[in-house]
């Protein structure tokens, strides 16, 4: 009897989990667009993936109206002080004190270091996951509960590795019914015909999947192209 009960319990939990995940995934091949009530401003989070990823991410921000995106949260990998200083440089260039809101910086341990053996990757990735969980889930929840605003209204991702960790934590938020930012992925200018690994992983998960060369979309998969963005 108890075995049957456990089997029934496990299968219902599995079914409910699958249903929940299915219900929070972006709808099919189409990009989700939210006709939202007009608001004055919102908060933008940007992952700076170091090197070329950081340069491209900051180029995307260059033309944005910082009075509209009135708070910027830069997420960088621990130890990547170069990315942070580039972000600060952009802020100093673009903002006049007191007018464009402010910005803050979050650092998260890398999911995988360059040349790190695959065998030791799981524990490193786990540390990274916990840190993202703290910043993106716990901290906003402690500040406002289920009715709190998400840690940001939109999260911009353009690779590499650690951005998948951030996306996973956002999905955890969605899964348990916490507010979550819009997820926007922009594939690198360097990717002409094929997606990067983070591009492949995030393609079905993000609200907007954007590439910079139309050839990539020849596979009829999800995504859109508006030409070069950087």
């Amino acid at each position: 009897m108890s075995l049957q009960f456990i089997a029934a319990l496990v299968s219902s939990v599995v079914c409910l989990t699958i249903f929940r995940v299915w219900s929070i995934l972006p709808a099919g091949k189409h990009q989700k667009r939210h006709p939202k009530p007009k608001r004055a401003s919102c908060t933008l989070a940007i992952f700076l993936g170091s090197g070329g990823h950081t340069s491209e991410a900051l180029s995307l921000l260059q033309a944005l109206d910082f009075e509209r995106y009135s708070k910027r949260i830069y997420i960088a990998s621990q130890g990547d002080s170069l990315s942070i200083s580039k972000a600060v440089e952009l802020e100093n260039l673009k903002t006049t004190p007191g007018k464009c809101g402010g910005y803050s910086v979050i650092t998260i341990p890398r999911a995988r270091h360059v040349h790190q053996p695959l065998l030791t990757t799981p524990p490193t990735a786990l540390v990274s996951l916990f840190s993202a969980f703290y910043h993106l889930t716990c901290s906003p929840f402690l500040n406002g509960g289920f009715n709190s605003r998400p840690f940001a209204d939109a999260l911009i991702l353009n690779g590499p590795g650690t951005c998948f960790v951030l996306c996973a934590i956002i999905y955890l938020n969605k899964f348990i019914g916490l507010p979550a930012p819009e997820l926007i992925y922009i594939e690198s200018f360097a990717r002409v015909r094929s997606l990067s690994l983070s591009g492949k992983l995030l393609r079905p998960l993000v609200d907007r999947f954007i590439v910079q060369w139309p050839q990539i979309l020849d596979d009829q998969g999800r995504g859109e192209c508006s030409g070069w963005l950087v």
Binding site: H34, E56, L60, A63, A154, F189, L229, V230
Partner: protein, 172 residues
């Protein structure tokens, strides 16, 4: 006229070897490039091995004055002063050089794994924005390069991303 060569943040021995070969130096002189500046990074070559730290090494060879250094915080000035840029095919460097309107020859670095330098170099050369070649093709590429025939690269258009984001966030 002045040529600036950059290998980027790592090293690219084959590019340094190709640019310092007798045949390349001959072609440079023939085309009127009498000054050659090389950012060699960590590349190894008998000619650059003793270039250290901030030191600039200068020498004259085959009628071309050559200046070699390893790194500088910004290459912008070097790009601006150049009449021709020869570079690895990193997309950041490509964008910077093309936006300055400088003639560009790129050599994709085959030793970098999964970096897709080849892909972006080929695509942009098909569009006529730059020339792409292998290290051994460098002399003939320089010799046949008509810098006036290059298709101008469009300027940065930040409105595209702004439009996408505004649309997603309900501002438009």
């Amino acid at each position: 006229m002045k040529v600036f060569v950059t290998v980027g943040s790592t090293k690219f021995d084959a590019l340094i070897q190709a640019i310092l070969s007798d045949s390349t130096l001959r072609v440079l002189k023939k085309r009127g490039y009498h000054r050659l500046v090389i950012q060699c990074g960590n590349s190894a070559h008998e000619f650059v091995n003793f270039v250290d730290g901030d030191r600039v090494h200068k020498v004259e060879q085959d009628g071309v004055s050559i200046e070699v250094w390893r790194y500088k915080p910004s290459l912008k000035e070097a790009f601006e002063e150049a009449d021709l840029v020869i570079s690895h095919a990193g997309s950041g460097t490509i964008l910077e050089v093309l936006r300055l309107g400088k003639p560009l020859i790129v050599i994709p670095n085959p030793t970098l794994l999964d970096n897709h330098q080849e892909e972006v170099a080929t695509a942009l050369s098909e569009l006529g924005h730059l020339k792409s070649c292998t290290p051994s093709q460098l002399p003939t590429t320089i010799e046949g390069f008509d810098t006036t025939s290059m298709v101008p690269f469009p300027p940065f258009d930040g409105n595209r991303f702004q439009r996408l984001l505004d649309e997603q966030m309900g501002f438009v």
